[in-house]
Amino acid sequence: MEILIAFAIGLLAACGLYLVLRQRTFPLIVGLSLLSYAVNLFLFASGRLAPGLPPIISKTAAAYTDPLPQALVLTAIVISFGMTAVIVLMALGAWLTAGHDRTDMPKGDDA
């Protein structure tokens, strides 16, 4: 279980990082999303992996899993969703005004 999660985080982060370095807005946005998936999984695992245990108080539960990382992940998901929306809009604006989707600044006129 731990090994599977660790591989998933590593793979997502590696793919995300590769895409971020592509200097085009579409791969950049996909890459940032992959990075945020990786970090969400990582945060989830930071409370220790405990399959089948409830995070909230119940009469029948023998043990509990840590509820705080789940709250942290929820916050992180909401924030990354908002941020993705912002960068998509800005990328669209930049593409419409500049005519292409490169992320580096043109030589000479980056004031």
Binding site: A76, M83, G93, A98, T103, D110
Partner: protein, 492 residues
């Protein structure tokens, strides 16, 4: 009385949506927005008067390590007052020059930005710090591309992408810290990390370096400064001036980290963080100062001067004793106000001629005088506060850093390089002129810049009382017993 601590966050949060609804009524927006920033200033001053001992505000009344807390101490109060002061002046400037008319929702975004800044300075919880970082960043994305334009949008995307990667790194660091300690309250972390078993030391060191890396991105330390020149030079003038406080958020977070959360006295950390910060700070100062010599445009010159002043600030913070921290805080106030002033003047000048440092139409004498005053402040020449700030930093380094002769040489040489850079820019802008004249300066806009220069003068004139107060602040930071006790926790 401690309920007032939440108001600097709640007030802009309530006012901003009202301004969104008033989007068709510019005069009402301006009036309410300006009243909001003025109220924030009054509020911060009241809070500053009560900040002698750290005070706690519990959100939802949950006790400290379980619930989120806001903590008001001297440092937080200082940052609140500085933010509000800068925000009020820049807000007035934005209205006087009509920058707020060039796109929608300037005032609402401005208040959301202040909400994020105030929250980041007040919070006593590391995850909550992340949340307020995101609040201030998402507002800054909107402000950064305010008024649109091709280059501004593309520089904006770089800025957003850089910060999103930094946020991801921040979350990785938080996850690691939580996995090792089981808490995210800053005071609780301070206690728990000091008592960590040796087996966990390696993990917490990894988390510590990632955390410092994130704050170094916010503070624009070399080698993580690449986002700053493009962003600041392409942002609208008043927004770049407000962003002068954004790099100081990084400085504030690093100061909290190396004094409270991960101090050098902790066995798990030792001098790891300050050993990393000091060379980075020295390189930042050097890169910024050399950059001012080669800057091709005026906004870029201002951005590189901002980087150089961050370098000096971080040298003082990285030396990490009570004396250097006090000197660093004085320099922080100076650097924020002076950087904001140079961006406002750059905005005045680029509104009248091309931004390129080459021959152009004649500018008014007032612009030249204000540029000259700000250049003196940034280069650190007497009689303005940059001189006293650098003197305090140099003096405190002598007893605190083993490498002080090298750092002295660096700070003095880079001051000279910056004088050269500003002299070159000033003589090209104001003396190498063609016959044409430019539009007269708007009196209200000039008044805002004069207010910033007057604050620098006041900081010089009242350097004695200010440094006394800052010495107390630094002493509290380096012995955080009261801060931890205010959280209801015990120092081991």
């Amino acid at each position: 009385m401690t309920d007032w601590i939440i108001v600097p966050v709640v007030l802009p949060a309530m006012l901003a949506p009202v301004l969104l609804l008033l989007r068709r009524h510019l005069p009402a927006q301006r009036l309410l927005g300006l009243a909001g920033t003025a109220a924030l200033l009054a509020l911060s001053l009241v809070l500053m008067a009560q900040s002698a001992s750290p005070q706690l505000y519990r959100l939802g009344d949950w006790p400290a390590p379980f619930g989120i807390v806001l903590v008001l101490d001297r440092l937080a109060a200082l940052m609140l007052v500085l933010t509000a002061l800068l925000a009020l002046i820049v807000h007035a400037y934005a209205i006087a020059t009509g920058w707020d008319k060039r796109g929608h929702h300037f005032h609402a975004l401005y208040l959301f930005q202040l909400m994020g800044l105030n929250g980041a300075f007040l919070t006593g919880d590391l995850f909550n710090l992340f949340v307020f970082f995101e609040v201030l960043l998402i507002a800054s994305y909107g402000l950064m591309v305010h008024g649109s334009g091709r280059d501004r949008l593309r520089a904006g995307i770089q800025y957003v992408a850089f910060n999103l990667i930094a946020s991801t790194l921040f979350l990785f660091a938080l996850g690691l810290i939580y996995a090792v300690t089981g808490t995210l309250n800053m005071a609780d972390l301070s206690v728990k990390i000091a008592a960590l078993p040796p087996g966990d030391h390696a993990l917490i060191r990894v988390a510590a370096v990632m955390l410092i890396g994130v704050f170094a991105i916010k503070g624009a330390l070399v080698p993580l400064q690449f986002w700053l020149p493009g962003t600041y030079a392409n942002a609208p003038g008043p927004v770049a001036a407000l962003f002068a406080i954004m790099t100081k958020v990084g400085a504030y977070a690093i100061l909290r980290t190396i004094t409270l959360i991960l101090p050098a006295s902790t066995p798990a950390i030792g001098p790891l963080l300050t050993d990393l910060l000091l060379p980075a700070a020295a390189l930042t100062l050097l890169a910024g100062a050399i950059g001012t010599l080669g800057a091709a445009t005026l906004p870029r010159l201002a951005a590189l001067a901002a980087i150089a002043s961050i370098g000096t600030l971080f040298i003082a913070l990285a030396a990490n004793t009570a004396e250097t921290t006090a000197a660093g805080l004085y320099y922080l106030i100076h650097s924020t106000l002076a950087t904001a002033a140079i961006f406002l003047i750059a905005d005045q000048i680029t509104a009248r001629r091309s931004a390129t440092l080459a021959a152009g139409p004649r500018l008014s004498g007032m612009h030249a005088a204000l540029f000259f005053a700000t250049a003196i402040a940034l280069a650190g020449l007497p009689p303005l506060s940059g001189f006293i700030g650098k003197l305090l930093v140099l003096d405190s380094l002598r007893d605190s850093a083993a490498l002080w002769p090298t750092l002295w040489a660096l700070i003095l040489t880079t001051s000279f390089l910056m004088i050269l850079g500003f002299a070159r820019a000033g003589s090209t802008l104001f003396w190498n002129t063609t016959g044409e004249t430019t539009a007269k300066p708007e009196p209200a806009a000039l008044a805002a810049i004069i207010a910033l220069v007057a604050l620098l003068l006041a900081l010089t004139a009242f350097a004695g009382p200010v440094t006394d107060w800052l010495a107390l602040t630094a002493k509290d930071l380096h012995t955080p017993t009261a801060y931890i006790a205010a959280n209801g926790l015990e120092t081991p």
